[in-house]
């Protein structure tokens, strides 16, 4: 932690106290050992699954589960032959059973190996209420390791989702994957090798993600189309992209806002995208390798007190969806219009990037999505900035030329603001003033022109005279207990992060 402490101190006075407070945090300095699981104590009435014919036994326990059940997988590594599906409301009455706990003996001691399974997912939970999964590992699932959908109340604590060996495209998509769910706590977990996102929370709300380690996935941690999420005290390292906050045009009424990313260690996310070779990549596959944190389209995001170091391409990127698909205002407009009417916003607003310790950025920039940007910055400025904002969405919104798709011109409180991120370089691909001739909207025919603004140290770019209002902290309430910075919990090892 010595090097980290040094970097934190450079970020400001509060960095020092933080580093001291976190020294005892076990979650971020080893990968696969969990002292809490050394001597698991199970309740007397726990359902202890037998090692023999474990797939069938687990299925039967899931099918016949009643509220309050504790289901314990045995110690050891087991071949599971099919997806283990839990449905909290199998009769469809609207009153699901609740408070179901699924346990193992430790995330490195109980390993459910799905490499020979006929099913796509490992564990699959739907329509649940108060589901806690702790102390087990799910390995080699063909599709997703642990997927939960339409579930209110999810604890994923000290679990591992792993694809071993060389990283390749045949690895599963998501490790920990709650979607269209709410009240989600993911902590003390380890995700490695997923060909999409290691931890992916999508179309969800009330989310706490802390003290996890995401290593060598395409995306380390991704919050997508989700509301009220706190991502803190995690370690994202060796992924293609470290931490992503995305809002995608899905069209089912779920769109994101109020996401806080703080006090994370985001390092060395330089792994080439090992999953997707498509011409027009989707989702996280648009991520340029070597990127620390990306905000795509999501409004109301606060990124602070993170350590973001050693990224080949960009440390932080903040961008509208126009970067992912520039047909949004032209040939694609008709298709996007209903999604915008559904609530999606292509242009991020009210983003704050502050007090991060950013270093070692842009040594070897790459990524198909931004190859023109890389070429331009390399030609004119000798390389990419550490912090990059696309500006194009704001420019077009400010022009009023596409208000139906992009919204009104940016007002106070909607700006993209950065401050106190160390002496790193800033860039902005497009200016945001539609009346400035340099931005091309005054020309005939009118077309935005990339001005590739660059500041070796921040002077004017993303500088806001009044800092944005801080975002509300999140909490997740599961089985009557609340977790996270907005809760009353005491003694949590990451409490210091909440105080930042």
């Amino acid at each position: 932690m010595t090097a980290d402490q040094g970097k934190r101190q450079s970020a400001g006075v509060i960095g020092l106290t933080l580093a001291l407070a976190l020294t005892g945090c076990g979650g971020s300095d080893n990968d696969n050992n969990d002292s809490a699981s050394q001597n698991p104590a199970f309740p007397d009435d726990a359902i202890m699954l037998p090692a023999d014919d474990l797939t069938r036994a687990a299925k039967e326990a899931f099918i016949t589960a009643e509220s309050g059940d504790v289901i314990v997988f045995p110690e050891g590594r087991f071949q599971i032959s099919d997806t283990l599906t839990f449905d909290g409301d199998s009769a469809g009455t609207g009153t699901p059973i609740s408070n179901i706990t699924i346990l193992g003996y430790g995330k490195d001691k109980t390993i459910l190996d799905f490499s020979q399974s006929t099913g796509g997912d490992g564990l699959f939970v739907q329509n649940g209420q108060g589901i806690e999964i702790r102390n087990l590992g799910v390995y080699e699932a063909a599709n997703n390791a642990i997927k939960l959908i339409n579930t209110d109340g999810i604890v994923l604590d000290s679990v591992a989702t792993v694809w071993e060996g060389e990283l390749n495209k045949d690895n599963g998509a998501y490790g920990l994957y709650p979607v269209q769910s709410k009240n989600i706590l993911i902590q003390n977990s380890y995700v490695r090798g997923s060909a999409d996102a290691g931890i992916y929370v999508g179309q969800a709300e009330n989310i706490v993600v802390r003290r996890n380690i995401a290593v060598e996935n395409v995306a380390g941690i991704e919050v997508e189309n989700s509301i009220n999420a706190d991502v803190y005290d995690n370690e994202a390292r060796g992924n293609t992209g470290g931490i992503l906050v995305f809002d995608l045009p899905i069209g089912q009424g779920y769109y994101g806002s109020n996401v806080r990313v703080f006090d994370n260690q985001v390092t060395d996310n330089n792994t080439d995208n090992f999953a997707n070779a498509s011409e027009f990549a989707a989702g996280v596959h648009i991520v340029p390798p070597g990127t620390g944190i990306i905000v795509l389209s999501t409004p109301d995001v606060e990124i602070y007190n993170n350590t973001i170091t050693n990224h080949d391409t960009l440390s932080v990127a903040i961008t509208s969806y126009l970067l992912a698909d520039d047909t949004l205002l032209t040939t694609g407009a008709a298709e996007y219009a209903p999604v915008v009417a559904d609530g999606w916003t292509p242009v991020p607003r009210n983003i704050q990037l502050r007090d991060n310790d950013i270093s070692e950025s842009g040594a070897s920039p790459r990524g198909k999505l931004i190859e023109d940007i890389i070429a331009g910055y390399t030609a004119f400025h000798g390389g990419l900035p550490a912090v990059l904002y696309d500006g194009i969405g704001e420019l077009m919104a400010n022009s009023g030329m596409a208000a139906a798709l992009l919204g009104a011109p940016f007002g106070d409180g909607e700006r993209i603001c950065a401050s106190s991120n160390g002496g790193v370089s800033y860039g902005q691909v497009y200016g945001t003033d539609p009346t400035d001739p340099a931005n091309g909207l005054q020309n005939t025919p009118s077309a935005p022109e990339a001005t590739l603004k660059f500041e070796a140290t921040q002077t004017g770019l993303l500088a806001c005279s009044t800092p944005p209002t801080r975002l509300a902290p999140a909490k997740a309430t599961i089985n009557g207990k609340a977790y996270g910075c907005a809760s009353n919990e005491t003694g949590d090892p990451s409490a210091a992060s909440c105080a930042l």
């Binding site: 069938r56 299925k59 039967e60 099918i63 016949t64 032959s81 099919d82 997806t83 599906t85 839990f86 449905d87 409301d89 199998s90 009769a91 469809g92 009455t93 609207g94 006929t118 099913g119 796509g120 997912d121 739907q126 329509n127 599709n143 339409n150 209110d152 495209k169 998509a173 979607v179 269209q180 999409d196 999508g202 179309q203 045009p249 899905i250 089912q252 009424g253 779920y254 999953a275 997707n276 070779a277 498509s278 027009f280 989707a282 989702g283 596959h285 126009l322 520039d326 047909t327 040939t331 694609g332 298709e335 999604v339 198909k368 931004i370 190859e371 023109d372 940007i373 194009i392 691909v429």
Partner: protein
Amino acid sequence: MTTIKRSVIFSSLLALAACGGGSGSNDTATPPTQPESACANSSGVINAAALASENCEALSDYRLFQNPSDPTRNPNGGGIPYDLNTPLFSDYTSKYRFVFVPEGTKAAYSEQESFDFPVGTVITKTFAMPADTAFRGIDNETKLETRLLIRRQAGWAALPYIWNDEGTEATLAIAGDSLRQTVIHNGKQLGPFTYSVPDMNQCKQCHQLKADSNSSVSRFEPIGPKARHLNGNFDYGTEGTQNQLMFWQQAGILEGLPADLSTVDKVPVYQDSDLQSLGSKTEAEIQALAKGYLDSNCAHCHRPEGGASNTGLNLEYWRDFETAKFAHGVCKKPVAYGGGSLSFDIKPGDAENSILHFRMQATNPGDRMPEIARSLTHEEGVALVAKWINNLTGDCTNSQP
């Protein structure tokens, strides 16, 4: 008029239904067939008491068929056989479906959804594997499983029964099973492959319906018995060939059917043998066939109210294609799938580079769609959808800034 008999035994079913959706029998520690169990009840033609309250160990306990080892004909208690115009593909099995609606009650017609069946309704579907798909018929087939949907007071219960090797007895298998199978199709042997009998929780992965994509209540619903899938002819033997919806109405199990049947939506028939005639179809006919196929094979999940609502891919038959191409997947990037080397759910004119086509063709568990209950590729279904996609025009481009 029909001569189908309706058993009065169903009235007792209503009275007993209050004991709820199988809650008395979902304890594995207790043998389902206790002495006092309704499963052992011998009164009545159909064992309505057991249907109402118990998940019986033996399918025969319910006495739904005259011959307990033949669930493909001669239903007891007014059961009516039915087919769907274009069915879900299930590894080339033949399917034998019956609906049993209690005497004096009717299912309520719905324009788009499965009919609202009264408490006491039972739907049976028996899956049988032909030795050779060229020679179907139960005498040339092996019964694999019989699935029951029972409309109890608390909602639908789904019970999978697996037949023994002799085909004499089907036993409840709440955890499902994996059966090694082969089948000859178009002169070629397919397999051995694993035919998966879904477990009880997997049933609802497909059989669920929310009020909308933001609702948390996920009801259990039948999938097949929708007007558009039933709107076709069925050979009722001595009673001749009749439109199924009309027949159901005349049999007194359906109310609310529009007087003018021509106003009722109809998924066009697509059976495997129809592959040969695709070449003579117009593009509009191909699209209707493809949308019908996608409706019965995908849209129970791929709709805003279904299990795959998170994907943004909505494939209901009634959804207008021209005004909702994106929801159909055209030039839509996947939300919950990496895409491999492919970019779009549907790339117009290019089935080979469309994810929808790729996943229909795939058989490995990470890629295949539907994700459960299929091990083989449905060559005829894939060919239909390929032809449809290849007919589409348009260009999915997004040049980079």
